[in-house]
Symmetry: C2
Subunit: 206 residues, 2 copies
Amino acid sequence: MPDSLYHRQREPLLVVISGPSGVGKDTVIQRMKERRLPIHFVVTATTRPARAGEVHGRDYFFVSTDQFAEMIEKDELLEYAHVYHDYKGIPKQQVREALASGHDVLMRIDVQGAAKIRQLTQGGAVLIFLTTSSEKELEERLRARKTETPEGLNLRIATARKELERLIEFDYCVVNHDMTVDDTVDKVIAIIEAEHSRVKPRKVRL
Amino acid sequence: MPDSLYHRQREPLLVVISGPSGVGKDTVIQRMKERRLPIHFVVTATTRPARAGEVHGRDYFFVSTDQFAEMIEKDELLEYAHVYHDYKGIPKQQVREALASGHDVLMRIDVQGAAKIRQLTQGGAVLIFLTTSSEKELEERLRARKTETPEGLNLRIATARKELERLIEFDYCVVNHDMTVDDTVDKVIAIIEAEHSRVKPRKVRL
């Protein structure tokens, strides 16, 4: 009898939650945090200003453009992108340390960034694409956000359309209905659970 | 925007629960049935006598050897096997009809049979391997069953050892601890949920 069967190590997972702006990535992750799961939630570095209620070090690391440039120069970011006039990046060390401690790591990242993580990890990451149940719902959510100029809104809608075409590059697709965020969270947790039950587990090397 | 994203059909799944005798396949499936999930549980045909509490048409179709031979001859079985002096088989029409009605279909089957289903469906089925947390636990469970002669017991233990080596042919592995059957059921349900969220769903053709 193969020893490995009874002494299987639980490989920590790198889980990427992505999808167009407005699908509710932040809300889903917030709700996941409230469940006190043994998951490390990556704190992204960004140059954009904090929105109401956002806390430095908890929601994002809010850094200056100069600070961000330094992080790029010192190769401290797993990946970064210039999105809607702001920079966003994933601190490399944070992800490595969390994985090394055996915890699953979850990151929220835009669609282009998710594709980069996929390449970087050679299929070792679990890529989840969040979407709305219709294009109309997505537009309504972006409109309701009211943090955008009309031009900014149109840019986000156009970008979202392009991003939806990249679904095929992801492993899983979860529809996030406005009224049932908890169902979405249940599905994400089910995906994580199932991935841990795979006979051939994914392995992340970063 | 691809239409397919918002009009994705929910493909019914063919889920196979397998694993050596004694790992608790029947208990897990019984507990799943109690949850009233929208799943069709396949009723296997067998020539072995009913155990205490087993009901014809619910737990198994208990048939005579002559009846079983007729089912083989008429090609009415998806697969069948001669296991421990008895015949067991999966009625083909039952599975086809359940899938056609859009329901997920779950079947309990021995390890050899699962491998056949895998071939037959060309990876279209979801194969779950149930196991115990140790070889000792498996032996204890088989002993506790007390339905076996000493020779029968030794045969089952030897067979279980060989079967554990076939884990690699399965998609998922779930450890079924004696005291936590509900956790096992939760994991199986998580696997089904995750499989429904795959960007590239499996397709069963039988």
